[in-house]
Symmetry: C2
Subunit: 329 residues, 2 copies
């Protein structure tokens, strides 16, 4: 291991990003410069208040540096890793544009975000960079600005998106290096060479429950009580499995039922897009529904339910964006 | 014409029902006993305040009798006509059960309600009654309890549902008789012998715009601005036309575009189901979407978009009913 600490830029300090920051700092082998948006003022004044199953109770916690923008963060660079835990909103802003100033030939990009097909914009924009793609299985949420509740352990699945300009060996080493930091900080990081398949697996849940909750205003338990599992959830899951299979990812048999069973009826879980709709914040419709739909089209899969869900969510997104701009103007 | 006035029981004094009551009383050939629900107290105290394109400004207007229930209304019977302008919510309450006490062998039932296939429960429950089915093209809404704004003329399309126990001649005469009262009161009533086709025509609008507005929280103009006409509205209209055609009703060529053109972009119209969702009131999902879907199934039509819309609206209905019962308990 290197003697000096890894210098890491981290974007997005919601629940997932903040807990990644805590883990990486706790390794004592990394220095985090975090770029905050909505919670910059709150965290600047009082730090984070974190109640974490992995890290215990933290009050007034801050990463090494906090900044308002990538430009401001540059004074702490250059960075070996840029960890992106921002909401994935390609229809609202371009994350590649955002991080471009901080990218060097030696920067590795680590995506900890929802959805499928989310790596391509980074591959296209930064052909010399290694892209590590991460799927987080954490259970955590931001209760209010800078206040984070972490109920289920942080398990990060991580794997390189192998590109043509770097050797596989280098990419695997960089993945191992990041995973080692993560583990040294007290969380799990499981390396895989097929992260896309892991993304499809998580999408079985996200494209169905997350979408339908956002459209109907119901939490996961209420969807079950209302009989929505058989009428919508499972049929949408079937479509996701169809696309995944067509794209070459064989999901485990019965993943639909296993995914349903993973949500006990008594848990009234409010998925991220439902929370966003309730708060009037943009939803991750392109990463979670738009991208799988486009992959389905390329592969010639018929997915009428997913298409309908997508078109409804896009109209809801349009309303959210309009209302936000009205609130600002 | 008879010398005595027609004795009419009218259920549901929202905008459509109240204006029907005004028209029928204004004919001076009918006595209306209206059963009010949510606005009984307001109307009992101050009467209706009506601003009508057909009838001018009316303050403190009341029909001959107002009552809280069909049972209470019975003292004013027997009734030749029972006019039903209630919201059509078969998943919430049974209108046949509600009116059963007031039905005699000589009662004619007049339905002024949205949707398709809504007559069958009345045919089943009251085989001796003539059923007149009405499609209202009125533009009117209740601004607050008992306060009604009527912007577009009342045009009622009316036709009998021919059954086996009454002669067509009698049914046609009863339709003509009711239409004559309506016209004498200063509104339009157009007789047709294919009211079902008229229902499909109106459904091209209702199943698409009304549904999608309710799901997305957007008004008709916003749906257009957001590009929703091509992504959802027209595809859903196509499915309705497919079902109508399969059921033997030939809609005019290009009815989809004509229906879209009938909603100028600058009109930000909030359809009934969107208003209901906003107010936390049950929506007419079965009449507007459930029934056409069931007809599609019987006829073997593939209508995946309509099915998805139905399942989403049913979950939204479940939430509305749950929240209402929580508010009451």
């Amino acid at each position: 291991m290197p003697d000096t600490k890894a210098n890491i830029l981290l974007l997005g300090c919601g629940a997932v990003g903040t807990l990644a920051a805590v883990t990486l700092e706790k390794s004592e082998r990394a220095t985090i410069t975090a770029v905050l948006r909505s919670n910059f003022t709150a965290v600047g004044q009082k730090g984070f208040t974190i109640d974490s199953i992995d890290h215990g109770s933290l009050t007034g916690w801050r990463p090494s540096h906090i900044e308002r923008s990538v430009q401001d963060a540059m004074t702490h660079g250059p960075f070996q890793f840029i960890v992106i835990a921002l909401k994935n909103l390609p229809d609202i802003y371009s994350i590649p544009d955002l991080i471009a100033p901080a990218i060097t030939r030696f920067t590795t990009i680590v995506l900890i975000q929802n959805g499928i097909g989310i790596e391509q914009p980074f591959v296209d924009s930064f052909p010399d960079s290694t892209i590590l793609s991460g799927v987080s299985m954490i259970g955590a949420r931001e209760l209010s600005s800078g206040v984070i509740r972490h109920d289920n352990p942080d398990i990060l699945h991580l794997g390189p998106i192998y590109n043509t300009t770097t050797t596989r060996k280098t990419e695997d080493e960089l993945a191992a290096s990041f995973a080692s930091l993560y583990r040294a900080g007290g969380a799990s990081c499981l390396l895989t060479n097929d992260i896309t398949c892991m993304r499809w697996k998580k999408l079985v849940w996200n494209a169905s429950f997350n979408s339908v909750c956002a459209i109907t205003g119901l939490d996961s338990g209420a969807i079950m009580d209302a009989g929505g599992v058989e009428t919508i959830i499972r049929p949408v899951m079937d479509e996701i499995v169809t696309i995944a299979t067509a794209s070459g990812c064989t999901l485990p048999d019965g993943i639909q039922q296993r995914t349903i069973d993973s949500m006990p009826r008594e848990i009234n879980f409010r998925p991220s897009m439902l929370v966003d709709v309730d708060r009037g914040n943009p939803i991750e419709v392109e990463a979670i529904v738009g991208n799988p739909l486009r992959i389905a089209q390329e592969l010639g899969c018929e997915v009428p339910l997913l298409r309908m869900i997508y078109e409804c969510l896009k109209l809801i997104q349009w309303r959210i964006v309009r209302d936000k701009s009205l609130a600002v103007s």
